[in-house]
Amino acid sequence: MLAVSIFFTVLIFGAVFYFAIKYRRRSDDELPGGGHTGLALEVVWSVIPFGLTMIMFGWGASIFFKESVPPDDAMNIYVVGKQWMWKLQHQEGQREINELHIPINRPIRLTMTSEDVIHSFYVPDFRTKQDVVPGRYTTTWFTATKPGKYHLFCAEYCGTKHSGMIGWVYAMRPEDYQEWLAGSPTGSMADRGARLFDDLACANCHHADGSGRCPTLVGLFGSTVRLAGGGAVKADEAYIRESILNPPAKIVAGYQPLMPTFQGLVTEEGVVELIEYIKSLNAKPGLEQTGQPAVPGAGAGSQPGNQ
């Protein structure tokens, strides 16, 4: 791109400079006469730039697409932005503020939300940037390849200390990363989520065998949920978050709108811990999936939760 830009810059600057000197006025009453317009020339210098821009478009678009779909084996990190700090949680339970330790050569998927205003998670060296929006999750992913310490910036103006909402990403060799992980045993996110699940009395309605008034959560994550009133939705992070904070928005087919909202009773960090807990239920051995019948097709993609 730089090459194309330099080419055209030099071309125009050069042409203007050259013509300005070569055709400078030599006498006061010089009259060059009109130039007739060449259609061919107009077409040529419209079509060729158009072709070049289409190449740029295609190239940029393909990079962008690749950046939007994380590999399945990506490590999940949850990010909550708030004025004016970054709060990050590893699945294994480590919590970090304004710092992120990651192993190199492993895809890292960030699931992010904001507690207040729009922020943006920006790591220049990773060519990564994604707005962090209140009320919904946004995601991005990257793979670090070189160990080192890299700037983390907030890149969406968010108030007084916007330029102070910065930190570091530490990319480490896998061995070093394991060592770092082991350094502070706090229980995994799923563990914390399980405790929250108890504290908030979710288990009173959501029984593992689906015998309560509410759907079971075993096997929920990633499945397709059929909704009352028709339609279906994929149970991803956004769906679960919405179901906790704004239950009436989507009622599962065959169930009553009984669930109260937990808005104000659980923080965004609590929500992601609950999500990790619910994800962990998929892997519980010995429990069969009961509750909702398998849902046919109708793959309405998950919509980011609007409250």
Partner: protein
């Protein structure tokens, strides 16, 4: 494409700056060459202005459409709480007012001063009636606790009060904006009535009545869109 290909030889002394009243009339202002040109320009000007109004209201219609589709059930419930008979009555009132306005323009074309004034007064009365009925409707909403800005907001029949609040916000914002335009319209009609009484218009020059009519019809058309969108969709679930 050329509007008037006419030679206009204007002697400099005819254009004494600022005091050219003998040359400038209402029907032919200084900057125009012919009365037809002025009429064309004024009419085009009003149409262009109405296009800007379409874009202005359009932004809100866009927001309405998005939230209507996202929050369909709650919004349908909220829309059913609106008073359909009142809304329908108001629609008829406005349609009548457009009729009388069109009659006023026609009378202006024919130079019938008394008829112009009569029809304009009727138009104004219909407009005021619309505003009065809307005011009454709003006080009803106030009593039913459907005013989003107030702490006692509550819509029966749903847990999703936030979504319901949004419906009524759009309701008040859009009908309020419309009502504001009606008030301006009534003011314009009043002005035209006074001008007519002072014999400013004639079959040769009735452009202000014409473009006031355009504006009035536009405000009517906006209501024709607002009414079904707010009152009629999903009336019977």
């Amino acid at each position: 494409m050329d509007s008037q290909i006419q030679q206009s030889h204007v002697h400099p002394s005819d254009l004494h700056q600022g005091e050219a009243h003998h040359l400038e009339t209402l029907a032919l202002r200084e900057q125009f060459d012919t009365e037809a040109q002025q009429k064309d320009a004024s009419t085009l000007g009003m149409w262009v202005f109405l296009i800007t109004e379409v874009m202005f209201f359009g932004g809100m219609f866009l927001g309405y459409t998005l939230y209507r589709s996202n929050y369909a059930d709650t919004w349908a419930l909220a829309s059913r709480s609106l008073n359909l008979p009142i809304g329908a009555t108001n629609t008829c009132v406005l349609l009548f007012s457009s009729f009388t306005m069109a009659m006023a323009v026609r009378a202006g074309q024919l130079g019938k001063k008394k008829a112009v004034i009569l029809f304009l007064i009727l138009t104004m009365l219909f407009g005021l009636a619309f505003l009065g009925i809307k005011g009454y409707e709003w006080t009803q909403k106030f009593e039913e606790h459907h005013v989003p800005a107030l702490a006692n907001f509550h819509l029966e029949g749903t847990q999703l009060q936030g979504q319901a609040k949004l419906f009524f916000s759009f309701y008040f914002a859009m009908t309020g904006l419309h009502a504001l335009h009606m008030v301006v319209g009534v003011g314009i009609v009043l002005f035209i009535i006074f001008q007519t009484m002072r014999n400013k218009y004639s079959p040769k020059y009735y452009t202000p009545i014409d473009i006031a009519g355009l504006y009035w019809h536009f405000v009517d058309v906006v209501w024709i869109f607002l009414f079904p969108l707010f009152y009629l969709i999903d009336r019977h679930p």
